[in-house]
């Protein structure tokens, strides 16, 4: 099993979620994060105090998936989330050694 972490632009969330649903991803977990990278942030000024933190709002999607579905998931996210503009984000894939569904105690692929 794999644990896929995708950092995307916030307004792409709905599209990505739908696309993943369409290829059979039953669940995912989403959180709001701040991203730091090549994309430059807006400069904010408050009464002369200038802040250009380059910290941009991003959305992080975490999906645990079977090994077999993983490539398709990666491809789907990559295609749907891309705007071809800098700052589109990243997909990270980690090995997942175990997964448990809390409600039932089921483990492994069936828990996803």
């Amino acid at each position: 099993m794999k644990f896929i972490i995708a950092i995307i632009k916030p307004f792409k969330l709905d599209e990505v979620r739908e696309a993943l649903g369409a290829i059979g991803v039953a669940g995912m977990t989403v959180s709001e994060v701040k991203g730091f990278g090549r994309q430059k942030g807006q400069t904010e000024i408050y009464r002369g105090a200038e802040y250009s933190t380059n910290m941009l709002p991003k959305v992080k999607i975490e999906v645990a998936a079977s090994d077999s579905l993983t490539p398709l998931i990666i491809e789907t996210i990559q295609q749907v989330a891309s705007t071809e503009a800098i700052g589109d984000g990243k997909i990270f894939v980690l090995d997942l050694s175990e997964a448990v569904r809390i409600r039932t105690g089921e483990a492994g692929d069936t828990a996803l």
């Binding site: 307004f11 709905d14 807006q42 904010e44």
Partner: protein, 486 residues
């Protein structure tokens, strides 16, 4: 009891009132005596009216004019400090409606990324309106010279000082003219701010400012003149509009609709989640709008008297009725009664009772509020989605529709048979006709003027922010700030 006027206009007022009576007389197929009795009814509100004035009113309309004019000239008009105290309070209550009231009501409904943009646009056009008002707006609406559509004179408040006085609806009772100017100024300021409800989250700040300048000049000041100034078109027609349902709400609502159509929908409208970012803020705004609206409605009596008291109680009960009705209708439609529904009902009720405030009994007001709430509910939840235009915060759906319901409904609730303070001399049907004419004229005027104002703004500023700025939010893109840095 349709609108205030300045001291300089008091002579003209007498004769226009006469014309108005004559006009109504024709419409009703009656004669002078009938008109005179309407005058008498109006006078009945004025508890300080002298018996002489009342007697004079019973005479034929022709005689009324001379007698009243003479009386006005003889009696030295006095300023009651109680009236002044109330009108100053009323004036700042209307400011409270704008900021923070409307800024929060509208701001809470937008998305986080546009909160500051919404608040700042409202604040800035209000400020702009104030400056324009003292330069030439007051002159265009309440100037010493004028015709049915616009007035002129008193540019830059020339000739006004701390001792100048403005007439009220009661002969011989006046208020300091600066107070009258300030009171009316806040009406101009809030009306242009109301229009913005349909165009937030995508219109450029600079475009908003240009729009405000043109719109106030060609729409607001003339319509204000028509409604409130002696000699104004609607005033002459005998249209009932206690606190500005036509000039403020129908005007703003229709303009908002037209502006939204010209501007186009927000990116993602109908597809993305555009839930209000803080209904808490909208709730605060609703409360402040209600509180401030008493300045608007009861202040429009121009005196601290029983008529203001009537406007006050109506502004309580019509609103309460409309707020609860919206929730009831939601339940009846199979949904949950919602907080936003409650707030929407409150505003719909306030809008509807505005023209009726001193022109209705409390139970007429309760029914008017309920009816407006039902109609606005259906409009914004059923009809609007079908039409597909993006009136972001329902400025038309609530102020426009609610304003029309209120303007027409006032003809009904004014009638004594419905517990209203009217004397029944003008039949409900006839009054409905007058109201409809005023409403129709306002709609046409506002629509045309808005088209002009929007295209001028487009020519000068480009009107709409870039898609990138719209996505990222106008707070960062237009103002370089975030509303929240938790």
């Amino acid at each position: 009891m349709t609108g205030p006027m300045t001291q300089d206009m008091s002579d003209r007022r007498e004769s226009t009132m006469n014309h108005r009576l004559a006009g109504i007389g024709k419409i009703c197929g009656g004669i002078g005596a009938l008109g005179a009795s309407l005058f008498a009814a109006t006078a009945a509100f004025a508890q300080d009216a002298t018996a002489a004035a009342t007697d004079a009113a019973v005479a034929a309309a022709e005689t009324v004019t001379e007698a009243a004019t003479a009386a006005a000239e003889v009696a030295a008009a006095t300023v009651d400090k109680g009236d002044t105290a109330w009108m100053m309070t009323a004036t700042l209550l209307v400011l409270l409606m704008i900021i923070p009231g409307l800024a929060l009501f509208y701001g809470g409904l937008t998305r986080t990324k546009n909160m500051l943009s919404t608040m700042t646009q409202i604040g800035a056009v209000a400020c702009f309106a104030m400056l324009i008002w003292v330069m030439y707006g007051y002159g265009m609406a309440f100037g010493p010279e004028g015709n049915a559509y616009v007035s002129w004179g008193k540019w830059f408040l020339s000739g006004v000082d701390a001792s100048s006085q403005a007439a009220t609806f009661t002969d011989g009772v006046e208020i300091p003219e600066y107070v009258f100017i300030a009171f009316q100024m806040t009406f101009a300021a809030i009306t242009v701010a109301l229009v913005l409800g349909s165009v937030v989250e995508r219109m450029k700040f600079s475009a908003v400012m240009v729009f405000a300048l043109v719109w106030l000049t060609i729409v607001y000041f003339p319509v204000a003149h028509m409604v409130w100034a002696g000699g104004g078109l609607f005033f002459e027609m005998g249209a009932l509009d206690f606190a500005g349902g036509t000039v403020v709400h129908i005007n703003a609502g229709v303009s908002a609709l037209v502006a939204a159509l010209i501007l186009g929908n927000r990116i993602g409208y109908g597809k993305e989640v555009m839930a209000p970012h803080s209904l808490t803020m909208t709730g605060i705004g609703t409360g402040l709008l209600w509180v401030g609206w008493f300045g608007f409605n009861a202040g429009s009596a121009l005196e601290a008297n029983g008529s203001a008291g009537l406007a006050m109680i109506n502004t309580f009960v019509a609103t309460a009725s409309a707020g609860l009705t919206w929730m009831v209708v939601e339940r009846a439609m199979g949904h949950k009664g919602s907080a936003l529904g409650f707030c929407s009902g409150i505003i719909a009720g306030l809008v509807a009772v505005t023209p009726a405030a001193g022109n209705s009994g409390p139970f007429g007001a309760i029914i008017l509020g309920a009816v407006a709430s039902v109609i606005c509910f259906f409009f914004v939840t059923v009809i609007k989605p079908k039409l597909g235009y993006d009136d972001a915060l329902d400025a038309f759906g609530i102020h426009g529709i609610g304003g029309i319901v209120g303007a027409l409904g006032t003809a009904i609730v004014f009638a004594p048979g419905f517990g209203g303070p009217g004397d029944g001399s003008t039949g409900i049907g006839a009054q409905l006709g007058i109201q409809a004419a005023a409403v129709g004229t306002t709609i046409v005027w506002a629509a045309i003027g808005t088209v002009v104002a929007m295209y001028v703004a487009k020519a000068l500023t480009g009107l709409r922010v870039s898609p990138e700025v719209e996505r990222e939010g106008l707070d960062l893109g237009e103002h370089g700030e975030r509303a929240y840095n938790y």
